[in-house]
């Protein structure tokens, strides 16, 4: 197991290297540059040339890449051209926000999707099954940003039940020792802040979790349908075990393997979905930060942000793979 983990960790290096090449050249292939974004109408040819020299954009691209690679090797993500802030500082500040949102979305998707899929399979062919299929189809079809706008309009703007923007009300004064606001509120026992943070999480988490919810529902349904006709399930039933025990010990546990795979994959995809959700809800995470960077053609931020997300994605998948062995003792890595 340890050898497997080490091998997977070592594999991260070529993955990130390949991605760094892709990202580096991709951002430079985008029309525009940070300079045109910075200067706007003031972009005289002389000024543009001055700025190109200052940021080293006048050098051959391969030289720029190797220079950048050296910085990344030193774990130096660089500095934002637009905001002048250190990218590592921004990540420290913003990643907990995105993580918190992704976890909330995953709890929403898994917490509803697994039971929904389970009951749909149990009532296979019935009204509940058809309804869950219909809802999951809608969930997959609606673009995240559109759902986010609709949810925000109904529950925040029209009904006024939930906040429209941010992570916490600006009028609440509380400490943030970890920058995970839910955790912070629990640590500091500030229940007012906890309630407020949760309210700010509901709409973005529902919007972000809608597609994973639909996928998890369908995968759970399919997995449960597969498992519940297995011989060992029939044997368990024939032995006279109570239905709840059969469901919990034999069906759900065996169905969990594909579900955990899909949850792991969705965890990574949630990070990319956060770009849209965070923009709609002005949620100060990695997603809205990357969106601003793309608009400003802020090369260091786009590169650093995407590499960081890729690293998280790879690590999440590694954790999911390891979790297989825990969920299903028949799996052994060597």
């Amino acid at each position: 197991m340890l050898r497997y983990v080490v091998r997977r960790l070592l594999l991260i290096v070529p993955i990130l290297l390949g991605l760094s090449i892709l990202v580096f050249f991709w951002v430079r292939a985008l029309p525009g540059s940070p300079i045109s974004s910075l200067l706007g109408e003031r972009a005289t040819p002389q000024l543009v040339q001055q700025y190109r020299e200052r940021y080293g954009f006048d050098e051959p691209v391969y030289k720029q890449y190797f220079k950048q690679l050296k910085s990344w090797a030193r774990a130096d993500f660089g500095t934002s051209i637009a905001t002048h802030r250190q990218i590592s500082d921004e990540i420290k500040q913003r990643f907990p926000a995105t993580m918190e949102l992704a976890i909330a979305a995953l709890i929403f998707a898994g917490g509803i999707g697994v039971p929904l899929g389970f009951f749909a399979a149990k009532k296979h062919g019935g009204l509940f099954d058809h309804a869950s299929l219909f809802l999951s189809l809608i969930g997959i079809s609606i673009p995240v940003f559109f759902l986010a706008i609709i949810l925000k309009y109904i529950f925040a703007v029209r009904l006024g039940w939930l906040p429209t923007v941010g992570r916490i009300s600006v009028l609440i004064e509380t400490d943030h020792p970890t920058n995970f606001y839910v955790l912070d509120a629990i640590i500091t026992r500030d229940w007012n802040a906890l309630w407020d943070v949760l309210k700010h999480l509901i709409l973005p988490a529902v919007a972000l979790g809608s597609i994973p919810l639909a996928i998890i529902t369908r995968i759970t349904r399919a997995a449960v349908l597969d498992v519940q006709n297995e011989d060992y399930v029939r044997t368990a039933r024939a032995k006279g075990l109570p239905p709840l025990t059969v469901d919990r010990r034999h069906i759900l546990r065996n169905a969990l393997l594909p579900i955990s795979t899909i949850i792991g994959l969705q965890a990574g995809l949630l990070l990319s979905g956060a770009v849209l959700t965070e923009t709609v809800f002005a949620y100060p995470g990695i997603g809205s930060w990357l969106r601003d960077a793309i608009f400003n053609r802020d090369y260091p931020v786009i590169q650093g942000g995407i590499l960081f997300i890729a690293l998280v994605f790879v690590l999440v998948n590694l954790i999911v793979d390891i979790s297989y062995a825990i969920i299903n003792p028949r799996i052994r890595y060597s």
Partner: protein
């Protein structure tokens, strides 16, 4: 089936209870606090090191300059200086300072504090001489004591001497018309010498070409004399200021001022509708009707501080070398129709290149109302007879404050020019990266659409930028215009300077190096219970007199 229905019923009831409990929403606001929506975080809170409006919005509430613009206008008024005089042929400026003023850290504001600030700027070295660090200092004062960066000019500033605790003289190396009016810019606000030294305000470096502040002053210790004191800044969430109870003048009417960044105008509008902000800036013109339709909300307008214009490029064999053709262009552009149809009610037809709020604006300039018959007559008596062929460029993929819909502006202008005897060939390019570069280097046809948003409240920032010297964008030679604008920029006497700019505007609109066509107001949305929120023409917001409720 019944059990399923029961389960759904229970879920619905539970959901209803949950949502009803959430009914307090985001609208709970203790008073007196003003929560204001901006579009982004500040860059730094040391105004000498920034040039963006979001930073100035905060620093202008914390720090004050020797003079300021009377709220809502562009008239220069006393602030930390109570009077001033020039001598030495405009090279010496003496200021008498307000007594009894203290910085927020309790240290006194006096002549030595003024000299400390001026000398701080003048003595900057290394990375602080980068344009991304000290944009406004370089725009006004040109150079430093020891220039270390290629392209910096000879410094304007010479020295500062305290002539008593409350009298200070600033010596310049040459007379300047921009020195005094630029003192209203937040970059030249007075900051506490003690706090600047204590919190490493002058610690910074260039990282991969980007200037980065490394001391803590600009993040967590900005210290001025203003009506609000800095409390905290959480990046991405809010900047919080509190009322300065020891303020020397009229104290603020609110206890807390919270400025929160919300990146999209829709997001800011919805936050206002939901009571999460009391007011916000940079409302989209198309949202004005939505705001007005809500009985609890109102729209506040900011006087225009920009101009949209049609460049006329001369030179070579261009038909535009002929004044009659340029006049025909001016008469052939249906400015009123464009402003009425494509500016969502926030545009005004421009008569000249500077907005009416700026000194030097003249009502005696030549005007060119749409008149296709006159345009045709002019063309037929010119070197380019009807149909006169012109290449006309416009940008794609962009909406600017002064030009919300360039493609439609172009279509309307193109049609009116065709009706006026021109044969228009349309060209377009994406704003980024090609269009602006083409316009600035003079390769965007005979005519093109472009504009300008002002940086600070001085006419030189508009007409001086375009027409003070030969400029490849327009490619014309008119010594009379160059001369009067150069004299105006160097004229220290305010009244004479204003007169020179009026003269320049008359000359420009007679010679027609370009045709201005629109000034656009910018909008703020606010709750009706927010009073005395003043939108500064230069882009800021004056919070001192705000009341809520």
């Amino acid at each position: 089936m019944r059990r399923i229905a029961l389960k759904f019923g229970l879920i619905a009831v539970a959901g209803g209870i949950l949502l009803a409990t959430l009914g307090l929403g985001g609208a709970s606001t203790a008073r007196p606090t003003l929560v204001y929506g901006g579009s982004a975080d500040p860059t730094y809170l040391d105004p000498a090191l920034v040039s963006d409006g979001e930073s100035f919005r905060v620093t202008a509430a914390i720090m004050e300059g020797l003079v300021y613009l009377k709220p809502g206008t562009t008239k220069v008024k006393p602030r930390l200086a109570i009077r001033w005089k020039t001598s030495g042929k405009g090279k010496i400026w003496t200021f008498w300072l307000r007594r009894g003023v203290k910085f927020h850290d309790g240290t006194p504001f006096n002549a030595s504090a003024v000299c400390f600030n001026f000398n701080r700027w003048y003595n900057w070295k290394g990375p602080f001489q980068d344009a991304s660090a000290t944009f406004y200092y370089q725009a006004i004062y040109y150079g430093f004591k020891h220039n270390e960066v290629a392209g910096l000019g000879a410094p304007l500033y010479r020295s500062c001497s305290a002539r008593g605790p409350y009298k200070v003289s600033i010596r310049l190396r040459r007379p300047s018309g921009t020195f005094f009016p630029s003192l209203v810019v937040s970059s030249f606000a007075m900051q506490s010498p003690k706090a600047l030294k204590q919190y490493g305000a002058d610690e910074g470096e260039l990282r991969n070409g980007t200037f980065v502040v490394t001391g803590s002053y600009a993040f967590s210790h900005p210290t001025g004399t203003g009506p609000f004191k800095f409390k905290s800044w959480t990046v991405g969430q809010k900047v919080e200021l509190v009322r300065n109870g020891d303020y020397w003048g009229n104290k603020a009417k609110i206890d807390r001022l919270i400025i929160r960044p919300i990146g999209t105008s829709t997001g800011r509008l919805q936050a206002l509708q939901n009571g999460e902000v009391n007011a916000y800036d940079l409302a989209a013109p198309q949202d004005a009707a939505t705001i007005r339709s809500n009985s609890k909300l109102k729209v506040i307008t900011r006087p225009p501080f920009n101009v949209a214009y049609v460049t006329i490029h001369q030179g070579g064999n261009s038909p535009m070398n002929d004044i009659k053709v340029r006049q025909a262009v001016a008469y052939g552009l249906n400015k009123q129709a464009v402003v009425s149809q494509f500016y969502f009610g926030v545009g005004k037809v421009a008569k000249e290149f500077i907005p009416p709020s700026l000194p030097g604006w003249s009502d005696k300039v030549e005007t060119y109302p749409y008149n296709p018959t006159k345009a045709r007559q002019l063309l037929n008596s010119s070197s380019c007879h009807v149909p006169c062929k012109v290449d006309f460029w416009y940008p794609t993929g962009i909406s600017r404050p002064y030009m919300p819909d360039p493609a439609r502006n172009f279509q309307a202008f193109s049609a009116s020019l065709e009706a006026s005897g021109f044969q228009v060939t349309a060209h377009s390019a994406p704003w980024r990266p090609t269009y602006v570069a083409k316009v600035n280097e003079g390769s965007a046809g005979d005519l093109n659409l472009i504009g300008w948003s002002g940086d600070y409240g001085d006419p030189d920032n508009f007409v001086g930028t375009f027409f003070k010297s030969p400029n490849p964008q327009f490619n014309f030679q008119n010594p009379a215009i160059f001369n009067v604008l150069t004299r105006a920029a160097n004229e220290a006497n305010y009244a004479k300077r204003v007169k020179l700019y009026r003269q320049a505007n008359i000359l420009i609109m007679k010679y027609l190096p370009a045709v201005p066509y629109a000034h656009s107001l910018s909008l703020l949305g606010a709750e009706k219970r927010v009073h005395n929120l003043i939108a500064e023409p230069t882009g800021g917001t004056f919070f001192q007199y705000v009341t809520v409720g």
